[in-house]
């Protein structure tokens, strides 16, 4: 029988937390053992949830870019280019340059506010997924 990777990582984290850490007398080294355990738990969650998170991210960004194409139909070239590149990349990370371009266009413009209103739920969902791993 072979353990799934995330389960193996979790077991390692448990061993570090419950067996290795408490047996270490030196405070700094003991802290490092506990930190190793915490990091392995995070990595385990990342390995476990990563594929699901990636497919959700792709679906959310695809839907977003469909909406943005309409909202930003009359956007200046730099915004249009950032939007096109973000649509091609299909990732949440690629929304960063688009957001910067939007603010550069003018945060008080109605189109910019509409675009940000469309983008923010996607960012919210992304940070929620990341929080599943981070906490």
């Amino acid at each position: 029988m072979t353990l799934p990777v995330h389960e193996q990582l979790r077991r390692l984290a448990d061993t570090l937390r419950n067996d290795v850490g408490p047996a270490v007398a030196d405070e700094y080294t003991r802290t490092q053992a506990f930190m190793s355990s915490v990091i392995l738990q995070r990595l385990a969650a990342q390995v476990e949830h990563g594929p699901r998170h990636s497919s959700t991210e792709a679906a959310h960004t695809a839907a977003l870019h469909t909406a943005l194409a309409e909202v930003l139909a009359a956007a200046p070239p730099d915004v249009a280019q950032a939007q096109a590149e973000a649509a091609t990349a299909g990732t949440v990370a690629s929304l960063g340059p688009l957001i910067r371009a939007l603010y550069g266009w003018g945060s008080d413009r109605a189109e910019v506010q509409q675009a940000l209103t469309a983008i923010r739920p996607v960012l919210r969902a992304d940070i929620d997924r990341r929080m599943e791993i981070a906490t």
Partner: protein, 343 residues
């Protein structure tokens, strides 16, 4: 970096020279204390004779060269700030020497007096209980407020603190802070997240105007002050001070981030008492809208701190796994930023 034994010997020789002692300076009760992530901090007593027997409690801070704030945390600047504060009402440690040469004490170092007092961590249950009990007694809430008022009413120009840089009246202060934390983010090498782009865009578009500049501590909360007999005996952590909008500190007082499970500001001051006493003492009206803006700026600053820490580990400058763990603290800071932005 020197070992502890090396440090005692080099410190003894250094102090003998500085103090003009007749003989050797004994270093007694030396202990390294775990405060902050920026510098090593050591407490000790120096004992010597210069015709009279002398004993002075001292505190040594050394720059390990891989501090969380990188070059932004500058011991020489701390030395200059503490020197300037000596002639103000701000409770702060008396500073003795700054030694820039790493060959002398193992790293650039600052030596100041060891101020009596304790500094319970507000992030631990025992610390929160300590502050809750002090709040009940009533002296510390007033003293804690008065120390902030002393910072904000200090004659910063008169004592020479304008070397910190003086923003123009208007929105220059907020823009300088945004630029500062953006620089740390860039130096961290961290890929960031679009929430941060949104936050920075929002901060830039909404930078508030201020018509009054004061000395600003930058991290005024319990855990960064020493307390003796229920009074603030010294304000510590002079790493983030600037000349700027006093609401920047007030926002840090008001934020929920600095009070876990209590309505007491910074775990110790009732909100009404703070507003009344601070405004009366300083003559500065608290502007809650500006404070809300600065709370968003703090969200950016938190993200920058954690990105810097994670970056120090990622690029191999520091192997402490506490820094590696902060990769996920970035996520928590960004989640907070999204909340502050309303989503």
């Amino acid at each position: 970096m020197t070992t502890d034994t090396d440090l005692v010997e080099t410190l003894s020789a250094y102090l003998a020279d500085r103090l003009g002692a007749d003989g050797p300076v004994a270093i007694e009760d030396m202990e390294r204390i775990a405060v902050g992530w920026s510098h090593e901090t050591w407490l000790f007593d120096a004992v010597w004779n210069d015709g009279e027997p002398r004993r002075q409690g001292m505190c040594l801070r050394r720059d390990p060269g891989n501090a969380l704030l990188r070059e932004m945390s500058d011991l020489e600047e701390q030395y200059r700030v503490l020197t300037c504060l000596a002639s103000t009402d701000v409770p702060a440690p008396k500073v003795f020497w700054f030694e820039p040469d790493p060959a002398v004490l193992g790293a650039p170092a600052l030596i100041m007096e060891k101020v009596p007092g304790e500094c319970p961590s507000p992030w631990r249950r025992a610390g929160r209980e300590y502050y809750a009990a002090a709040a009940e007694r009533g002296v510390l809430p007033e003293s804690f407020t008065d120390a902030l008022a002393a910072i904000h009413t200090a004659d910063w120009q008169g004592v020479g603190l304008d070397f910190l840089g003086v923003p123009a009246l208007g929105d220059d202060f907020a823009r300088r802070e945004i630029a500062k934390w953006q620089r740390l983010i860039e130096e961290s090498g961290h890929p960031g997240h679009p929430i941060l782009d949104d936050l920075i865009g929002w901060l830039d578009a909404n930078a508030p105007s201020t018509d009054r500049l004061t000395l600003v501590h930058g991290a005024y909360r319990t855990g960064n002050v020493l307390i003796h007999d229920d009074r603030v005996s010294a304000v510590l952590d002079w790493e983030l001070q600037v000349i700027g909008d006093p609401m920047y500190d007030v926002a840090y007082m008001l934020t929920e981030l600095n009070r876990e499970g209590t309505d007491l500001l910074s775990n110790v001051v009732p909100r009404e008492l703070f507003f009344e006493r601070y405004q009366t003492t300083t003559g500065i009206e608290i502007d809650e809208d500006r404070c809300r803006y600065y709370q968003l700026l703090y969200a950016m600053r938190s993200a920058a701190f954690w990105m810097s820490a994670a970056g120090l580990y990622a690029d191999g400058r520091n192997n402490d796994l506490r820094l590696a763990r902060t990769e996920w603290s970035v996520t928590v800071a960004l989640e907070r930023a999204a909340q502050e932005l309303g989503y």
